[in-house]
């Protein structure tokens, strides 16, 4: 028995159950929540080197599942997000007036499919298996995005499809070249020859589309902005992270020996541009959800901006941890923000930022959730976002990377510029009377997520230790040289 399998199998079982149960599918979260959280806890409690081969079939043929630091950070966070989103989505995706609807029916299987897919993605080391998990997640994501706007969903679908294929092309080249697609084996076998670097380039480019790194983010804002709030939360929090994590694994584990400084700076530079560009676009938005969506574009930039910082670090463990903490913090905070935004927009029956007037009074808890999430996203203390940005900034300064340091700082300020705008309006007076629309259960979801994002800021050491478990040699080795203080 191992949570490594169950974390994937359980959501799939729930998916089947949800599909069969139809309109009763929403009840499943009451079982799925405890089960998945329990499995996450089990994952955290596993011994550091926990890993096993599915069906006991050995590499290079079989598939290796592994509980490394990345998984230990992201899987529990993912589970928390899913549980919270599901609880929030409950009333929204229930039968209307006793009648089952397509959305209420299909939302739940899609949720579990995405859940299983993302867990599978974090746990596996097999690049082809990753392709399948990407498709699981993308499929669900497209369906959820299409629930808001079909056009945006189609756009997303087409772009994601090409991205997947680019990734698959890389996998094909690697499979032909090395006769394996396992990352741990590739780490040993990879040579910097043309097929390898081409494979890495196309895989990275394809995944960058999925991870919506500027300038490949075009699909994200319309899709994330138009979807229903719980769907937006999942899209922004979960879906884009998978692409990022795979790139992280490719660059620092499978192909650590192949990667060149110029390439890593290319990624870092794109990340930096994403931070700036996404923030500026967010500042320009007049409507709330596009603003939050562009904020995702900006925040994803940080993840890539960190690459050169990890690469050049004296103690790579710290920026490595930082980037993972950032991913987790963004996951929690962004989910919280979309959920809170959903509640707020519903209450004012509008979607413009200027409609939010007076909400701080009418819906204090939602606004609080939004604000706490904003704090983490801006990287203000105490929050997970701060811990991450702090470590990154420290690394950037230590390495004398003035541009990255500057972008980190400016990005935080721009973040404040756009995130405080809706808050500011919410704290203002209301033009129209506001209907108070905070169900205790619904608002608990964003509030819990946001509080967790803040709480991450107090657990810096734990997170760093977690992230160092099973870290790739390129990350872990220098850490061993210099024991912590």
């Amino acid at each position: 028995m191992s949570p490594l399998d169950l974390l994937v199998a359980a959501p799939l079982a729930f998916m089947v159950a949800a599909l069969v149960l139809g309109q009763g599918g929403r009840w499943l979260i009451l079982a799925a929540g405890p089960v998945m959280l329990g499995l996450s806890a089990w994952l955290l409690a596993l011994p550091p080197d926990a890993a096993h081969l599915v069906g006991n079939w050995d590499l290079p043929l079989g598939i290796l599942l592994r509980a490394d630091g990345v998984a230990r950070l992201l899987v529990p966070a993912t589970c928390v997000c899913f549980v919270a989103v599901a609880l929030y989505a409950w009333p929204e995706f229930s039968p209307k007036a006793g009648r089952e609807t397509a959305r209420a029916h299909t939302f739940w299987p899609m949720l579990y499919l995405m859940w299983g897919g993302s867990n599978a993605g974090y746990l596996t080391t097999d690049l082809f298996n990753l392709y399948v998990t990407i498709e699981m997640v993308s499929l669900a994501a497209v369906a959820l995005a299409a629930m808001g706007s079909l056009a945006a969903g189609l756009q997303y679908f087409m772009i994601a499809l090409v991205g997947s294929l680019a990734y698959l092309l890389g996998v094909a080249l690697l499979a032909g070249h090395y006769d394996t697609v396992d990352a741990t084996l590739l780490a040993v076998r990879a040579r910097p020859d043309l097929p390898t670097v081409l494979a890495l380039a196309v895989m990275t480019a394809g995944l960058l589309v999925k991870a919506a790194l500027f300038p490949l983010h075009g699909w994200l804002p319309p899709a994330h902005a138009a979807a229903p709030a719980p769907a937006s939360a999942l899209l922004s929090a979960i879906v884009v992270k998978l692409g990022f994590v795979i790139i992280l694994r490719l660059w620092f584990e499978a192909f650590a020996e192949v990667v060149r400084p110029a390439a890593i700076h290319l990624l870092g530079g794109m990340g930096a541009l994403a931070v700036i560009y996404g923030s500026i676009q967010a500042i320009r938005q007049e409507r709330l959800k596009p603003l939050v969506a562009y904020s995702t574009v900006a925040q994803l930039g940080y993840l890539f901006l960190a690459f050169p910082l990890i690469w050049n670090a004296r103690i790579p463990g710290e920026p490595w941890a930082a980037v993972l903490v950032h991913a987790v913090a963004h996951m929690l905070a962004k989910a919280a923000m979309f959920l809170a935004a959903g509640l707020m927009l519903k209450a004012v029956a509008g979607d413009r930022i200027s409609d939010l007037g007076g909400l701080a009074r009418a819906m204090p808890l939602s606004v609080t959730a939004f604000a706490l999430a904003a704090i983490s996203l801006m990287g203000l203390p105490p929050s997970g976002g701060f811990t991450a940005k702090f470590l990154l900034l420290h690394a950037a300064i230590e390495q004398g990377q003035v541009i990255y340091a500057g972008v980190l700082v400016i990005g935080g300020l721009l973040g404040a510029a756009y995130l405080f705008r809706p808050l500011s309006v919410a704290f203002g007076a209301s033009a129209a009377p506001v209907v108070r629309a905070e169900g205790a259960l619904r608002v608990a979801a964003p509030l819990t997520l946001a509080a967790l994002a803040i709480a991450l800021g107090f657990a810096g050491m734990t997170l760093i230790e977690l992230s160092s478990i099973g870290a790739p040699p390129a990350i872990a080795l220098p850490l061993a040289e210099e024991p912590g203080p």
Partner: protein
């Protein structure tokens, strides 16, 4: 007391904060009681700490929050100066705020954030490393923002935006500075200045500029001051709090820490950083006063006055000499109690009489003599009229300037006094000497709420007076400032 005392002291306001946030408006009485109770408890704890620290006790609480980065709280004399100022004024402001708002909307929120501000300000004071300082410094920004926008009108929202833009940019610069320094020397603790000799002077200078520039935003150093007058859109208790204690002082306090505990006066002097900073502070002093003269709104005028006055602290810190330090530190307290008096009075005037502009002050002294009396004492203190406390600060600063070979400081002091007089005296003139518009049956102290509104200002005015008259007594701020200087900076 245990070593966790500093942490306890910092976290104490969380309790009333949470209670305030969660109590509905109709339980205002309970909320007020809880707030007052905890403010009192905190004063008591600080009094006890004062006693202990004077006796030489050194309290410390350390927790490694990230590898190589400690969360360190230390109670030293300088910290206590700021802490005792803030807890005292907080008690006062709490009383005032309760009376000021009465039963307005959004007060649970207000008091919640109010307590978070106390928390942050205490944290700022007790921080033992620059990074811990930064954490609380940033938290302070966040906790004060809802207070700035409390009124929720377009003006205060705009003020909130400006406030954030300035302070967040400032703290970002500060963060870059301290992280840079930390990577170079390994420690940014406030205990003893690290050895900076290996670092190139240009780098050190750059870091210093970043840090002081960042902190200078909150301390409203010209040209980083614009947020402060804008923040006047906030209600009076907030202005009192922001301008007298929390925000601006946090900045000034941070700069003092930078100069004395992070760089050390030796390094600062070697690098020749003191004089430019002192010059900048002087420019701020004069510019702020000059702008204050031109303001028609009372609170704006007071705000520019704050811009000017806070730089006294910086001037004292940057001059680097025993007297200057004492002057700067003692002004930290003096300016606090005097300016809070002024703001509370201004708030009372606008609350009770609707007076907002200087031109409306006509006859306010006849209608509200007690309030205006307190205001007058505060104003005279600002001008530097003895025996109100401001004079003591100016005296030490002037002599300190001379000691440090900067005789122009005396001219700055003199010029500032003149300008202060130029904007305060006309207000007093109007209030006391011009006839009031007709107001039938107005009574200043008619209800107990009125008394609560005006009493705090009277207390602080009396404190300002006492701090000046009994400057050399054992319990005066001056004596404490001298103690700090002796223990820390005069070896």
């Amino acid at each position: 007391m245990m070593a966790g005392a500093p942490l306890f002291l910092i976290l104490l306001p969380l309790i009333p904060a949470i209670i305030s946030f969660s109590l509905p408006e109709r339980l205002a009485v309970w909320r007020n009681a809880v707030n007052l109770l905890f403010a009192l408890v905190k004063v008591g704890i600080v009094a006890d700490l004062l006693r202990q620290v004077r006796g030489g006790v050194d309290l410390e609480w350390r927790y490694t929050f990230l590898p190589g980065h400690d969360f360190l709280l230390r109670v030293d004399t300088l910290a206590l100066l700021f802490v005792s100022l803030s807890v005292f004024l907080w008690l006062i402001t709490t009383v005032y705020a309760i009376a000021y708002f009465g039963r307005g909307p959004n007060l649970s929120r207000f008091f919640g954030f109010f307590n978070l501000c106390v928390l942050s300000a205490t944290g700022v004071a007790l921080s033992g490393t620059a990074i811990t300082f930064f954490l609380f410094y940033e938290l302070l920004t966040l906790a004060t923002w809802p207070l700035v926008v409390h009124n929720g009108d377009e003006k205060s929202l705009r003020a909130g935006r400006i406030y954030l833009a300035y302070t967040l940019a400032g703290s970002a610069a500060f963060l870059v500075g301290i992280l840079w320094l930390k990577t170079l020397v390994g420690s940014v603790e406030f205990t003893a200045p690290p050895d900076l000799s290996a670092v190139p002077p240009l780098t050190l200078t750059l870091i210093f500029v970043l840090c002081v520039g960042g902190l200078g935003v909150k301390a409203a150093l010209v040209p980083l001051h614009a947020w402060l007058p804008a923040a006047m859109a906030a209600p009076a208790p907030v202005s009192a709090l922001l301008h007298a204690v929390a925000v601006v002082k946090a900045g000034a306090f941070g700069i003092v820490r930078m100069i004395y505990d992070v760089y050390g006066i030796g390094t600062v002097a070697e690098l020749g950083l003191g004089t430019p900073l002192a010059a900048l502070a002087s420019v701020t002093i004069l510019y702020g006063s000059l702008r204050a003269v031109m303001q028609a709104d009372i609170k704006k005028r007071l705000a520019y006055s704050t811009v000017s006055q806070v730089s006294y602290i910086l001037l004292g810190a940057s001059l680097i000499g025993p007297f200057a330090v004492i002057g700067g530190l003692v002004h930290l307290v003096h300016q606090g109690i005097m300016k809070i008096t002024l703001f509370m009075c201004a708030g009372a005037l606008s609350n009770r009489l609707g007076i907002k502009a200087v031109a409306d002050l006509d006859g306010a002294g006849r209608l509200m003599p007690v309030t205006m009396g307190a205001f007058t004492i505060g104003a005279l203190g600002m001008i530097g009229v003895p025996p109100v406390a401001g004079f003591i600060s100016k005296w030490y600063l002037g002599i300190g300037g001379l000691q440090s070979g900067a005789p122009w400081v005396v001219a700055v002091m003199a010029g500032s006094s003149l300008l202060n007089a130029a904007y305060f005296l006309p207000m007093l003139y109007r209030a006391w000497l011009l006839p009031p518009p007709e107001r039938a049956g107005f009574r200043e102290l008619g209800t107990s709420r009125d008394r609560m509104l005006i009493l705090p200002a009277v207390v602080t005015a009396a404190a300002a007076l006492a701090a000046g008259v009994f400057a050399s007594s054992a319990v005066s701020p001056l004596t404490w400032a001298k103690l700090i200087a002796e223990r820390g900076y005069l070896e």
